[in-house]
Amino acid sequence: MNPWRLAAPVIALVMAMPLCVVFGSVFVPTGETWTHLATYVLPAVTRNTVWLVLVVAVGTLLVGTLSAWLTAVVEFPGRGFFVWAMMLPLAVPGYVFAFALAGVFGYSGPASDLWRTVTGQPLPQWGGGAASASCLILGLYPYVYLLARQAFLTQGRQSLEVAQSLGLTRLAGFWRVALPLARPWLAAGVALVIMETLADFGTVKVFNFDTFTTAIYAAWFGLFSLPAALQLSAVLLLAVAAAVVLERFWRGASRFSAQNGSAPQRRLQPSVSQRWLAFGFCALVFALAFVIPVGQLLLWALAHAEVEWMPRYWGYARSSLILASAAALLVTSLALLLGFADRHAPARTTRISVIVATLGYALPGTVLAVGFFAVIAGLGHALSAAVEWLSPGAAGVTLTGTLLVMLLAYAARFLAVAYSPITSGFERITPTLDEAARGLGASGWRILRRVHWPLLSGGTATAALLVFVDVMKELPITLITRPFGWDTLATRIFQLTTEGEWERAALPALAVVIAGLAPVLWLQRQDTTG
């Protein structure tokens, strides 16, 4: 028995706990509530959600791919800076991003004042849909950027030269070779963006744009029907699972791994005007996605620092960092395990397990958190009962409120985030590479260390970075599973924003951004020294 065959199903089993709760809800009758939702709510939110997902997917694909391609392949002023600067928006939580941009571009914001001074007219305000979509694009494009950059770096310049030697212009080569070869990376990045968009509540709430997720919360919080909320989540998950399966099917037998190591990198040298065009694009994105919102946070934070600052912030920051680092390690290791399982036991059970284990990312955070908590609590009760039966009078078992459970819940949510870059790394390890290594007499462990790891380390570091930053920003799971005293920067933001104290929340928000910058900069350092 190949032990790898067991790895994926075991991981999936743990990660699927909240999914069991979600799909279990299908058997709870919610007739009247469903009729209401189906009549008055679902048509509009489905339309809105499909629109939002499409716009955000296309937008992040454009912004992320273009900025990745420019920084990876083209020489232009400031390229070295933008390589890592373009990742920075990752560190800004979506809910913070939305309220900061709303602050800048809202009616009473500085952008609006400036516009009024210049034109004498009020700044045109976008509808909730357009505003949500722009915020999500600016906040989420780094997922595509990071993965696309990996792709363009590994495929090297040779793919473009192939196209040119076959009579295609550089532009045509980009479309017909560089992009298609980057497809698994782009698909992985966009998949993350789509799942994040589907699960987003923070942004659409700020702009009051109704989506499937707001409908889930409305059913739960407004109609007091958790079963209906879970059933809506089940529909959402089925749609996502279908999309994942379709993509795999569509990819078919084609492969994307480069045949060999790529030629040494020499970047394209475009004309001067093209160089400044590239600079302008990156600068604009960076300004909108990072400088302006973070600048706004900084102003607010300074204005409210006196009220809001307190020594407890060190404790918040410590908790945030510990949780984020531990989660990054755990989740990345699990994702690597899944990757190896997929490679060494490419059975249908493995593939299904992988899909199941990574679905949690599309669930609204609170739903996943509650589902996970319910199962863990149930397990705790069962364990207590068992202990009581075995030795009456013994202390009961409490699983809830432990860090282990908290980290597992993070894993259930963020496994997809770690798995995407890692699986793209595995795509680069061609089967012949394994055979070649075995032919040289390398043992399994040696193959892992000498052959796989060097090819996987880039994707693994990206995965760890994404999980770290995501956990820094994570709210619903942290809120429900944290042990007493484990308040984080994110929960502090929650305390303030639930009371509408947006501007006071700028200080913890800024702290989250700064803490999130550290690993981004670390990754950058590795990138240039390695």
Binding site: H36, L226, A374, L403, Q495
Partner: protein, 358 residues
């Protein structure tokens, strides 16, 4: 590309596993709670009694000073976690008889009603509470009690509208307010409670007519929060709206406002109020401490802090209001039992969806 040292990664993974086992072993309520704002714990010196664990959906900055004062006065320590109300209720349900929570502290009558419905609260046997808190702000079976009142009332632009033109909530559906009304999203529980009490007092049909009138009068798409709504009135984009008074108070604290509050008179039913409140959990491990906490909160000291911290109104009539709040003048609060707001909340949500109120 990145090359992590293999050994380094392995040892980190090992450390992590070891750490998890250590942390997972015993992580009961060990951390000090109810810290004072300078980070020192007040619970260690004077806490011989078992601490009271509170699950709160009221934000930390609004409860932590109160708990500190309570502990100083009674010597009973308080530990708490905060989250949104529904996840907390689900958590208590899931934990069942192992829950550490003795008190559920939350905002909105609808949530309190739902918690009671879910069977996670037990009746409190306290004459002090029932004597102090008026009946319409309590659960008939004593499962929960209101602790502060939040008034949801009309705000208007004094530059364009005079108080004489204003009548009440229902009147805002009149066509003379067409293009002048601003509302917050119907997804906020405050609006759900308002509409639920309207259903209770005038029936579903009439209420729906009014809500449709509101929607027809909207000057702008629904706002995501009350503060933005008040700012829109300051900005001249709307002339009237409905907000919770304390949001107005907070803005008033730092700004000179052209907007003002209007209170619907008693003969039309008075001002819609909601409560923040608390109940003792069904499996509370510390009923005595929980009761002591609730009684203290319903008493004069607790009331002053509880309402004052957030510019709310105390449930005890005779506790002095904050000066900002006092300047708004007297108003007649609706005497409708708040339990209606909970009972009819789901109906209100459906009604608003039907009426196109987003």
């Amino acid at each position: 590309m990145i090359r992590l040292n293999n050994f380094g990664v392995l040892s980190l993974v090992g450390l992590l596993c070891a750490g998890l086992v250590a942390c997972g072993g015993n992580d009961g309520p060990a951390a000090p709670a109810a810290d004072t704002s300078d980070g020192t714990s007040v619970t260690e010196a004077a806490a011989p009694a078992q601490p009271v664990v509170v699950y709160s959906s009221r934000a930390e900055q609004l409860i932590q000073p109160i708990f500190t004062a309570f502990t100083e006065e009674t010597g009973i320590a308080v530990e708490y976690i905060t989250d949104s109300a529904q996840p907390l209720i689900e958590r208590i349900k899931a934990e069942a008889d192992t829950t550490p929570a003795s008190v559920l502290l939350t905002v909105d009558a609808g949530v309190l009603w739902y918690a009671a419905e879910q069977g996670i609260l037990q009746p409190m046997a306290s004459d002090i509470v029932s004597a102090a808190v008026p009946q319409q702000y309590r659960d008939p079976d004593g499962l929960w009690t209101g602790l502060s009142l939040r008034a949801r009332t009309i705000v208007y632009d004094t530059r364009k509208v005079s108080a004489d033109e204003l009548v009440g909530y229902a009147d805002l559906a009149d066509s003379r307010w067409a293009g002048k009304l601003c509302l917050r999203t119907s997804k906020k529980v405050y609006n759900q409670s308002l509409v639920a009490t309207m259903i209770a007092s005038m029936g579903e049909e009439k209420t729906e007519e009014i809500v449709r009138g509101w929607v027809a009068n909207l000057a702008q798409p629904e706002f995501s929060n009350d503060t933005k709504l008040i700012e829109a009135i300051e900005d001249g984009r709307c002339q009237v709206g409905i907000v919770n008074s304390y949001y107005f108070g907070r803005l008033q604290r730092d700004n000179e406002l052209s907007a003002a509050l209007f209170w619907q008179p008693a003969e039309l039913g008075g001002v819609h109020v909601n409560v923040s409140g608390a109940g003792i959990t069904a499996n509370a491990p510390n009923v005595a401490g929980a009761t002591a906490l609730l009684e203290w909160l319903a008493g004069p000291a607790g009331q002053e802090l509880f309402a004052g911290l957030n510019l709310e109104f105390p449930v005890l009539g005779d506790v002095p209001n904050d000066p900002i709040v006092a300047a708004w003048g007297e108003f007649a609060a609706s005497e409708q039992p708040l339990i209606d707001a909970g009972r009819l909340q789901a109906d209100a949500v459906k009604l608003m969806a039907r009426a196109g109120y987003n």
